[in-house]
Amino acid sequence: MTAFDQYRMMRSHHLIFGYRGFLTNELIASILTLTESKLRDLPGPFKKKKSIINIIIEGLQNILYHGEAVEENGVLGHHCIFLMGQRTNEYFIQFGNFISNSHVSALSKKLSYFNSLKQDQVQKLYLDILEKGEITDKGGAGLGILRVIRDSGRTMDFSFVPVDERQSFFCMEIKISM
């Protein structure tokens, strides 16, 4: 596949940019700088663009904190995919990472529950968790995911693709209406 094929494929999938590979916190900071720069040239109100930044922070740090480290080309780490795109009237952000099969059921239940909440319930739960301070050095208690749902103003799409007897690939897509 040539670079032109890749270009056409990304365009046909409405992709603005993406990243695949090993994730570190410094890399997240670089992705945010790149996103900020891209968003300056793209249409949409500031508040929505800020929501995109917040969602990327939580989504990528979620991978770093809770994703399963896997080995690829001799490098053990949090391998992932991150994609950002723009369709008519909306931006979309996709995250994908490996997780242990033992975590799939609990995560699926938690996300389904968060998705079932109305926006005012999301805000109330967010403040409740923040006030109780049930946060560890890895975040936790679902505060980051609640922020993602609050900032997108919509439910998230998620799925788990089985990889082998130990791992699945966790896919999450968040849309932000313009």
Binding site: N25, I28, A29, I53, E58, L127, L130, K138, D151
Partner: protein, 127 residues
């Protein structure tokens, strides 16, 4: 108590703590990989300061963006200074947000709901 000044990085904020002046500032971006490691010593410092504070204390936030783990530490900072108010001294929070950054303004509003300290939310041109 000694002053604390920490230069910002791509993932941690600038910290200016001047206990002699009762001035505490957190500014920039806050998404440390381990927020406890970064904020725990600062919170311990604030707790010690609150035992014998300056006549008036101002805690300033000038943030561009942060992760939720940092938010919980910001709230803990605010809570540390509630003691100053309970002890009958002056303690306030100034929460600055960029003029067009409604999201950061709303984050300040969240703190207003959760804290007893007076929190003034102001638009500004942030670097």
């Amino acid at each position: 108590m000694e002053r604390i000044e920490i230069e910002p990085t791509s993932t941690t904020p600038r910290i200016i703590f001047r206990p002699d002046e009762g001035y505490f500032e957190v500014s920039g971006k806050s998404l440390p990989e381990n927020s406890f490691e970064f904020y725990k010593p600062l919170l311990d410092f604030m707790e010690a300061y609150a035992e014998d504070p300056a006549p008036s204390t101002l805690l300033v936030f000038k943030l561009q963006y942060f992760n939720t783990s940092s938010t919980s530490h910001f709230l803990r900072m605010v809570k540390k200074f509630e003691k100053i108010l309970e002890d009958g001294k002056d303690a306030r929070v100034s929460w600055y947000h960029d003029f067009e950054d409604d999201d950061m303004r709303d984050a300040g509003e969240d703190f207003k709901v959760l804290s007893k300290l007076p929190i003034k939310i102001m638009g500004a041109h942030l670097e």
